[in-house]
């Protein structure tokens, strides 16, 4: 899948996991609330979760996450509010919660780990951006066609 941190080594993961707290969520439980101030990252370890965006009247599912996928990364990066919710989509979803400050401490001590982490995260974001850009271009092209019809 597209939301994995591909360049982290097993040693990197051991260091990161030592800072992580395992959390368990039941089906339908909110892992990340939309609009929360999130200086936390989550790595899904078991089960599935859905990334949901709340509209004025409905909710749209943007993506489905599985084991090893990361979430909460954009709010962590920009130290801002989360712009989508992540909801457990199967029974007993396990996720590792890592505090932003713990992660940044690791990055200071291990710059090569930091470089691999952000390189991997940039790749995840580039893929999401590519998909979103293509969808946007298709919407705009469809609109132009409708106008011509």
């Amino acid at each position: 899948m597209t939301n994995r941190l591909l360049h982290l080594t097993s040693n990197d993961w051991a260091l990161i996991s030592s800072k992580a707290q395992r959390q368990i969520f039941n089906m339908g439980e909110v892992i990340i609330r939309q609009g929360s101030l999130g200086d936390k990252l989550y790595i899904i370890r078991r089960g599935e979760a859905a990334v949901e965006l709340a509209g004025t009247t409905s909710r749209a599912v943007l993506a489905t996450l599985g084991p090893e996928d990361i979430c909460g990364d954009m709010a962590f990066l920009e130290k801002s509010q989360t712009t989508a919710a992540v909801v457990a989509n199967s029974d007993k979803v396990e996720a590792d919660e890592i505090k932003g400050e713990d992660l940044r401490e690791l990055f200071e001590a291990f710059p090569r780990l930091a470089s691999r982490f952000y390189q991997s995260l940039a790749i995840v974001l580039a893929r999401r951006l590519r998909d979103t850009s293509r969808a946007l271009a298709q919407e705009i092209a469809a609109k132009k066609r409708n106008r011509l019809d």
Binding site: M74, T83, P111, R112, Y118, T132, S133, Q138, I140
Partner: protein, 147 residues
């Protein structure tokens, strides 16, 4: 428009990167990056403006406008793939610094903290672009629903 600059790089980082850069000049309408070309270099805009254009089924959509200090060619660099959008000069004279991917990776090996700051900055740039694009997509979909 939000800046796409690599904000966490220090003056010293830039000196190391600039030492490997080649200045290129483009005229209005010239392609700086061709859609589908090999991503073996990145570009930093130094003077003027450029547009990011995506061609889908005979229509070209402008995705973003880039200005001084903005980076482009970064996604193909990251994924070691081909560019999926074009970048076109939008001023009479546009100047860009071209840096070969191999040179950049060489610097990263020698200076891991520079690499850390580079990729952190790039992730922030991408997150911001993703936020803008998602917002534009949401409003396109909402206006299509109304029709």
């Amino acid at each position: 428009m939000a800046s796409n600059g690599l904000r966490y790089l220090t003056a010293n980082d830039w000196a190391l990167i600039n030492a490997k850069a080649h200045r290129r000049h483009f005229k209005l309408g010239q392609e700086i990056i061709r859609q589908g070309s090999l991503g073996d270099r990145i570009y930093i805009i130094r003077k003027g403006e450029a547009c990011v254009e995506l061609a889908v089924t005979s229509t070209r959509t402008i995705l973003a406008t880039l200005g001084v200090e903005d980076i482009c060619g970064d996604m193909a660099f990251l994924e070691k793939g081909r560019t999926t959008a074009a970048v076109v000069a939008k001023d009479v004279e546009v100047e860009v610094d071209e840096i070969q991917s191999a040179d950049l990776r060489g610097i990263f090996e020698a200076f891991p903290r520079l690499a850390y700051r580079f990729y952190l900055s790039l992730a922030v740039v991408l997150a911001r672009r993703l936020r803008d694009t998602s917002r534009a997509l949401a409003s396109e979909i909402a206006s299509a629903d109304r029709r």
